[in-house]
Symmetry: C2
Subunit: 281 residues, 2 copies
């Protein structure tokens, strides 16, 4: 396994591999790798000759009051995990090589980036679309792997790839969960013991949705009201949003139907967690 | 020579050519080809195994009151010219295949796109950066060729390619002129006989700059004032802007130095023409 810091060097390596007709799978991450990331890496290794993992905490997708500085950076642990998984290259660039001082170009997916998480994180998805465009241009993957937990991110990247004719297949893989149901997230590391327990209200609220659907409920507002009641019963929980939307255009739906996306974002103390459920009943 | 309409088909063809280690040169155009375009095509043919010319009048770069509908579309003539020049592929997509109804993604080069031509053409350079990103993703060229006449466009595309790590070499080729000095432009076709004569005030104003520089003048304001006086002496001419700027960041410079860009935009009747001079004295 090689660790590459320079965008140009990474491009040169990929060019040689492509000339040798190797297929390239790509897993973009911000590091602090957990089993969710590892499931993406395994899928990429299975489907491609070469797997590249990027570790880059992208400042452009953090708001000024967000956790850019605090975000965990366990690079040695991440490196060993990648090595163990048979990753071929880690692309690990410095911020200054990704965003030189005179950087001015942004990729924006209009509308989709302003809904749901975009409402409380203005500019976040513009930062995501921009860095993913850069990473795709650097790694030129045949396929790129993303987690379903970040459902809005996946919808936006799919839209962007389609709109800009990006020659990359976007694969969205199932959310990986702890035994007790909590969706894996690097930000779970922020949670105190009591908070970790309260955070279970996110998967619980999705289980509640399944139960209501089983009983025949289809009205989005009534489902959302029930979720709100459940989450508000936890002392450390503060709702950012609860939404039931179309999975492609992310617009609210009045009545749940097959394929609808139930998305929740909840502050547990000072940690903002998200989870979602793609309905197919 | 083949004419390809479908973005996917174009991508598939290029993928095969690349697998055969062919180098691809690309000349993006809006058709109505003139000798300026032909000089780009010849350079591309000389430097690459395969040359692709795109003909696409990009609605995203026209304002609502601009000449999108009126823009010349002599597709048969363009096709013969390309054939004669030994072009391998014309990429000639429909608007609906480039911008499907749910299109939402734009590439924007901040600041650079709001100066000079951007002031009187809001959104123009966002449309240019977006379509060039799309075309680069469809054609995956090794090199792409642009005319120096559109100096701001060239600066913005270079910035975008650099910022987004686009793996394409951008080559900016000299402006081609009529014998009397008028820079070639598809929009010259709009000019009436009297207007065609008045349009010569653009190259004349650039010749005036050269003369002033020779006499030792370096003060941008004084040079601009002299150009304004000259252009205002033509009845059908109305100045949009006269500027002397840094060629990379496009900001005004107080004093002319080697490399400075003198850019003029002038309405001749209802036709907006641009010209420029890159100073190296």
């Amino acid at each position: 396994m090689k660790i590459i810091h320079s965008p140009r060097q990474m491009q040169a390596i990929i060019k040689r591999l492509k000339a040798d007709k190797q297929t390239v799978g790509f897993v973009p991450t911000m590091g602090a790798l957990h089993k969710g990331h590892l499931s993406l890496i395994r899928r990429s290794s299975r489907d491609n000759d070469i797997t590249v993992v990027s570790i880059f905490i992208n400042p452009a997708q953090f708001g000024p009051k967000e956790d850019f500085k605090r975000y965990p950076r366990p690079i040695n642990k991440d490196t060993s995990l990648c090595k163990k998984e048979g990753v071929d290259f880690i692309f690990y660039p410095a911020v200054s090589s990704m965003y030189p001082a005179d950087f001015k170009t942004y990729v924006d997916v209009e509308e989709l980036g302003n809904l749901l998480c975009g409402k409380s994180r203005p500019g976040h998805f513009r930062g995501v679309a921009t860095v993913v465009t850069k990473l795709f241009n650097i790694v030129s993957p045949d396929s790129a792997y993303f987690g379903r937990k970040d459902a809005q991110q996946a919808a936006i990247i799919k839209r962007m790839v389609n709109d800009l004719n990006v020659p990359v297949k976007v694969k969205v893989m199932p959310t990986v969960r702890e035994k007790d149901g909590l969706a894996l997230s690097s930000r779970n590391l922020y949670l105190g013991r009591k908070e970790r327990k309260d955070a279970l209200v996110l998967p619980e609220s999705l289980r509640l949705v399944k139960k209501m659907l089983k009983s025949g409920m289809r009205n989005s507002n009534m489902i959302i009201t029930a979720i709100k009641r459940l989450i508000n019963s936890k002392k450390s929980a503060r709702i950012d949003y609860i939404a039931i939307v179309d999975p492609v255009n992310l617009k609210s739906v009045k009545n749940v139907s097959a394929g609808s996306l139930v998305a929740v974002a909840v502050w547990i103390g000072k940690t903002r967690l998200i989870d979602n459920l793609c309905l197919n009943y």
